[in-house]
Point group: C2
Chain length 462, copies 2
């Protein structure tokens, strides 16, 4: 029950990016006399950069606290009633209340809400196999996970690390462990690492990682984690082989954490995430919003929902939710699927659809790949770059771009991200007025070179 007459109560479940951005933005819009804000967080931290954990583990970031954008105390100072180590165990939609449990004491109680924000995040996929919970086996989803891994590395007897999974968390953790002086093996179920790229581009990543001294094992399903007599992990086993390991990092991916939402009968999509409208309201519910890693987002290129766990989306969702919950108006139109990551000096970027995404969406396309350089060829430190571009048959609409290169490659994907949002054709892209000077780009930017080739392919394949 809300006891303050005339004052609404906003309840937020989850104290990380989406939840606390929503709370903060709602507070900016409405003062404490108009809107009470209660936020529940089951962990020890608020508003931190999970994306930064690999760099903390690798030593690029010195202190855990550098990853924390805003502490519980800072949130409280802004008039948010933040309840740490308090886990919401049930959402009573009909009753307009949530049940929460103090993690330490076990005490439970109901809190009523006028408006609810669900920002329960994602949970890492843990393989259901022997040894998965052994000492020395680590996820890297939370700050607590990161601290546990760092402690484990300090205790590990040898210097052999196995990373399971070769998505962006897997490759970033490979870099982190290399930086800490480990021999690193990456075991990957797919044909090539970075399955967010097409395999032909993933191959470039594999070759570069092998060049960095990382052992890449592809097409390999981990069957069990072997432990020593002390109970600590000692090797990773696949059907074909065993890989000795003093420490194992799991980077297999995440799923939306929607246990509460499912139990409350809220609408979930094909990927297990909450379904929202453009104002980030849970579909069919006027006063419940959801955002961050627990929701599905509209892919503007394919027209279908996807699940993408990424801090930048979570922050945008939080802004939109907080604006709306505070009585303003904002929408989140969707994503184009941009992602960028690096392994040592290798930069990897993608946006839009891969070949298989396009096929699945019923789109026919031309795919072209070009080689170019980050700067004018004659300028020092010009580095090679491969750009793959997909364009729809007949219409020539840009469908996706993948880039693998060195310094200056990754953020070039933004050009394509904006072009995708604007539904440009590759022919239109050939005329884009991009920044040119020899230290920044060849006279034809690599993205323009790809667009020219894609445009010719579309014309020829008409």
């Amino acid at each position: 029950m809300n006891m303050s007459a005339g004052r609404e109560r906003l309840v937020v479940i989850g104290g990380d990016a989406a939840g606390m951005s929503a709370a903060s933005q709602a507070r900016r819009t409405k003062g404490p006399d108009e809107l009470e804000i209660v936020a529940f967080e089951r962990g020890h931290f608020t508003s931190y950069s999970a994306c930064g954990i690999p760099y903390w583990v690798g030593g690029d970031v010195g202190e855990r606290d550098e990853l924390i954008a805003r502490t519980p105390e800072e949130h409280r100072a802004r008039g948010i009633d933040l309840r740490m180590r308090t886990e919401v165990t049930r959402i009573d939609v009909a009753g307009g209340r949530v049940r929460a449990r103090d993690v330490d004491s076990g005490a439970e109680s109901w809190t009523s809400y006028d408006k609810l924000v669900i920002a329960t995040g994602a949970r890492p996929i843990r393989p259901d196999m022997p040894g998965a919970d052994a000492a020395g086996v680590h996820g890297v989803q939370t700050l607590d996970d990161g601290q546990a891994l760092i402690d484990s590395l300090t205790r590990a007897r040898g210097r052999r690390a196995v990373v399971v999974g070769a998505g962006y968390i897997g490759v970033e953790m490979a870099e982190a462990l290399i930086n800490r002086g480990y021999e690193v093996t990456v075991v990957n179920r797919g044909r090539e690492p970075m399955s967010t790229l097409d395999a032909d581009m993933g191959r470039l990543v594999r070759e570069a990682m092998e060049g960095m001294g990382i052992t890449m094992v592809n097409d390999a399903e981990v069957t069990k984690l072997l432990t020593g007599e002390d109970g600590r992990v000692r090797a990773v086993a696949t059907q074909d082989a065993e890989y000795p390991a003093d420490v194992v990092v799991l980077g297999i991916g995440v799923r939306p954490e929607t246990t509460l939402a499912r139990a409350a009968g809220l609408p979930l999509g094909a990927h297990g995430g909450l379904l929202t409208d453009l104002a980030m309201r849970v579909r069919g519910h006027e006063n419940i919003w959801a955002g961050g890693d627990c929701v599905e987002v509209l892919d503007l290129v394919s027209g279908q929902e996807r699940h993408i766990a990424l801090g930048t989306h979570a922050n945008k969702h939080g802004q939109v939710i907080g604006t709306n919950a505070g009585g303003g108006y904002a929408t989140f139109p969707g994503v184009v699927g941009t992602a960028v990551s690096k392994v040592c000096d290798l930069e990897i970027a993608r946006t839009g659809l891969r070949e298989k995404d396009a096929r699945r969406a019923g789109l026919q396309f031309e795919a072209v790949t070009i080689e170019s350089t980050s700067r004018a060829g004659y300028y020092p430190d010009s580095s090679p770059m491969t750009v793959k571009m997909l364009a729809e048959r007949r219409t020539g609409r840009l469908l996706g771009v993948q880039i693998v290169g060195r310094e200056g490659a990754g953020k070039r994907v933004d050009i394509a991200a904006v072009a995708l949002t604007a539904r440009m054709t590759v022919d239109q892209m050939t005329a884009l007025d991009l920044g040119y000077a020899p230290p920044f780009s060849p006279v034809w930017d690599p993205v323009l070179v790809a667009a020219r080739k894609a445009s010719r392919a579309v014309q020829q394949g008409f």
Copy 2:
């Protein structure tokens, strides 16, 4: 007269980016049996990167020939009848012919054309003042200019250089001369350097350049260049002061080289450049095209013509002209005014309209400025960046972006360049799905932070 029955002759005036791109693209489209291509170049070189000259002078590029994309011999090997050191002295539009003079022998003759491409480039503005032609005073427009400057630097007695002009050539030359160990003074007529930026952003450039040990003199009109007894420049004089100089570099800007076109009665615009249609045909002339630094281009943001001398545009024009002259179809829709440059580690970028451009175009706007960083704040080598953004009142349409920062700042302007091309509003931009990972960007990319602030300003100023 064209003597080969059934075979058309394409004549190209000017052997640099636009002209030779046009010739090459026309050749790709039509073989020598269908199309004869004759190109005239009055200088010693073809298809070179004038934009690379500062880096050659500064020592980043070792050899002049690295700046040459394609030599006369390479062009000839592709079936282009290239006549070097041959200056076109007249265009006879009615007669469909051009008169050309061998620079060395002085011999003149007429060459008839079926199709003509004018790519006469730009000429540097030389101040009309005493001493402007003295030894030790140099422009940096052509490879010959660059070689003369390098020779002059070798001969100069002292290490004091004065650069006249603080546009992008001026600041790039300041860097080049610093790299060669000179004490550099930049004398600039404007209130701040980089008048392609608003003065508030130009101030950041000035402060950074002063921090590099460059003496910046603003609001200063050069009145004369003083020479010593040997006839060599010894100082640059303004109304107020004299600046000792062992070498002087003129970077005052360029004007379209349209003397021939004007004499032929072809249509010129307010900036002295040729006016073309979207297919790059000179207006009113079916069989004459023009491109590169001698034409005016449509500014897609203001809707007015501008003159911009930039290799990347010249190359695009050449592609379009060559395609059309070869019987295909292509258009050049216009520019948004993107430019990027650097002085040592300072990166400077702009696209779209400055405040005064917007006013001149009759646009009312909100202007905002934000500070952010190139990477997540906690990531190593994250560097500060200032982003200024202009948005139209009421509609919120993006009008322009200016960025001053360090590594990673410059090419971010491409995000805005694409958004301008797509006529996005700043509110739409707040939702852009840009590449995010801690080594590449804060969770809100600086351009998004600016868009959010601009969006709020538009809403408040409605």
